[in-house]
Symmetry: C2
Subunit: 83 residues, 2 copies
């Protein structure tokens, strides 16, 4: 078993309204920053032990499917690195 950290990034799908990101963008603009867009995402770093990187990615993927992401409104991606 090897120790891995799986990073799951959960984003809203294109077209889903994101009022938090919109408010953040407006606040930055009010502070004088120029930006053309801002998107927000949640990032989960999961430490787990697995036989290999593929197994770690599969398990992180299942965590995203079952709990971390809502497939109706979210896309997600998984990246795995040895710890």
């Amino acid at each position: 078993m090897t120790a891995y950290t799986a990073t799951v990034t959960v984003r809203l799908k294109r077209g889903v309204l994101d009022p938090e990101a919109e408010t953040t963008q407006q606040a930055l603009e009010r502070l004088g920053f120029e930006l053309s867009d801002l998107r927000s995402a949640d990032r989960f770093e999961v430490d787990l032990d697995a036989a290999d990187a593929g197994e770690a990615a599969d398990r992180a993927d299942e965590m995203a499917e079952r709990l971390l992401a809502n497939p109706t409104i979210h896309d997600y991606d998984v990246a795995v690195a040895e710890r």
Copy 2:
């Protein structure tokens, strides 16, 4: 001017309690997943135009300092990529 996307990742500092991450970890364990730790972070993807990658990173850094992160409880890092 070139179009860049600056990704700002904002994490709680070590030692700062993260009840959301703890609850998420417990929920995953209740679903039968084995994991040794889970940390959550916020990720902001900022689209901006800048003369070069260094300027884009500097501006994203200032956005983090002034609004996106709270230096008392957060660490952050900035990564810049051409769009």
